[in-house]
């Protein structure tokens, strides 16, 4: 079996930590690796889905923002913030069509890539891949449904609270955040369909209330229960008056 990696066993072990690949045997994982190239993307590299050459990518390290952009206004909405063990573009893998998304490397990225057609052929021969792939796809669809629901049903404050709660590290007593802890206010705005000034104003307000701490550009939740109330309270209000005409939405 051919391999193109300095330490394919280490790469396989790294992939095994991802739910997408955890059910695959060592032999299957190594066979899969022989179909992939290793790529790195420099922090800040930004390409459209069509420019990414119809490739299926798996992230080995770093964060990738996947979003949609309005070319006329330059406004962007972030659909996914992917990290180690995630894959993109799974929709193109399913239907074989280029995706109209924009890919933005938020760190130096290390990736595996293979042409979509080759990935599809490999999956045909290894249907066991679907044991991990289908639940992964389900989680991504749930996340998209959450984003759509938040945008349609909640005001900016609630959306921001819900976004932060989604990334709170519950294993950590300090309630630090995963993935989004060091993102700019503009990037956070893009994740909730808002803009930098609104996010900045809201975070300052919560900081004064002692709900969060922002230290050296890193966010930490100080009062988790208070943040939960923000998310629930506004959800409750929105449910009561869904079309009141007096939207609290700042954007």
């Amino acid at each position: 079996m051919s391999t193109r990696f300095f330490d394919s066993t280490a790469v396989a072990a790294q992939l095994r930590r991802s739910p997408l690949f955890s059910s695959l045997s060592d032999a299957t994982l190594l066979d899969m690796l022989s179909h992939f190239r290793r790529e790195t993307w420099k922090h800040g590299r930004c390409v459209t889905g069509s420019e990414s050459e119809q490739c299926f990518h798996v992230i080995l390290s770093g964060r990738m923002k996947v979003g949609r952009i309005n070319p006329e206004t330059g406004r962007m909405v972030t659909l996914f913030l992917l990290d180690q063990g995630d894959a993109f573009d799974v929709i193109s893998l399913l239907d074989g069509k280029p995706s109209p998304v924009t890919l933005d490397a938020k760190d130096d990225l290390e990736l595996l890539s293979t042409p979509v057609e080759e990935a599809r052929r490999w999956i045909e021969h290894h249907p066991e891949f679907n044991y991990g792939f289908l639940p992964y796809l389900g989680r991504q669809m749930h996340l998209l449904a959450d984003i759509a629901g938040d945008l349609a049903l909640h005001d900016t404050e609630t959306r921001l609270a819900r976004l932060i709660l989604r990334y709170v590290d519950t294993d950590n007593s300090h309630h630090s955040l995963r993935l989004i802890h060091d993102l700019s206010h503009e990037a956070l705005g893009e994740m909730i369909g808002s803009v930098r000034v609104v996010v900045n104003r809201q975070l300052q307000h919560w900081q004064r209330e002692g709900i969060i701490i922002s230290h050296r550009g890193k966010l930490v939740v100080q009062e988790l229960d208070a943040l939960l109330k923000k998310a629930m309270h506004h959800s409750h209000n929105a449910a009561k008056k869904p079309f009141s005409g007096k939207s609290k939405n700042h954007y």
Binding site: F6, R37, R38, E39, W41, D108, S113
Partner: protein
């Protein structure tokens, strides 16, 4: 200006590295866009040096024939003593980036001059550490510079030539 996209491959012997360059040449790659880095000598094999005889630079040492052939093919040649790595022999466009790093044009925290040169052409720190480790254990690093399509094609050509590692770096 060196392209900021590249394909980098590691080979354990100078014979394999030279073969890889010839395979790229046969596959009609612009050989002026190919760089090679290697230590170029072994502890027990010195003396080592290089000198100018008219138009050609010649390498003096056990691997003289290899570096002579490589310098005949590639664009630019240099030999530097880099702390932590020792004498490093380079050919190709990377020479310009390394000179820039040595002159302080490129300064990247925690990286050697070679690391800074690699960083300046779009190779991230994690990969640089891997390449420097391999160079210390006498591997040869071949880098093909170019646009995305060129480096992807280079990857497929080099991958078929049994490197110990091959990767594409996009900026």
């Amino acid at each position: 200006m060196v392209d900021k996209n590249s394909c980098a491959a590691l080979y354990p012997t100078h014979e394999q590295a030279e073969e890889a360059i010839r395979v790229l040449q046969k596959a009609a790659f612009d050989i002026k866009k190919v760089s090679i880095v290697g230590k170029g000598y072994h502890q027990k094999e010195h003396p080592v040096g290089f000198y100018n005889t008219g138009e050609r630079v010649k390498f003096w040492g056990v691997q003289g024939a290899f570096w002579g052939n490589v310098w005949g093919l590639l664009f630019g040649a240099a030999m530097f003593w880099i702390p932590g790595l020792g004498p490093v022999v380079i050919a190709g466009p990377l020479v310009v980036s390394l000179v820039g790093a040595l002159e302080g044009v490129v300064a990247v925290g925690g990286l050697s001059a070679l690391g800074a040169a690699l960083y300046s052409i779009g190779i991230p720190k994690n990969s640089i550490i891997r390449y420097e480790t391999a160079l210390k254990s006498d591997h040869y690093l071949i880098i093909v510079h170019g646009n995305q399509k060129e480096v992807e094609r280079a990857h497929d050509v080099l991958a078929a030539n049994k490197p110990t590692d091959v990767a594409i770096h996009l900026s």
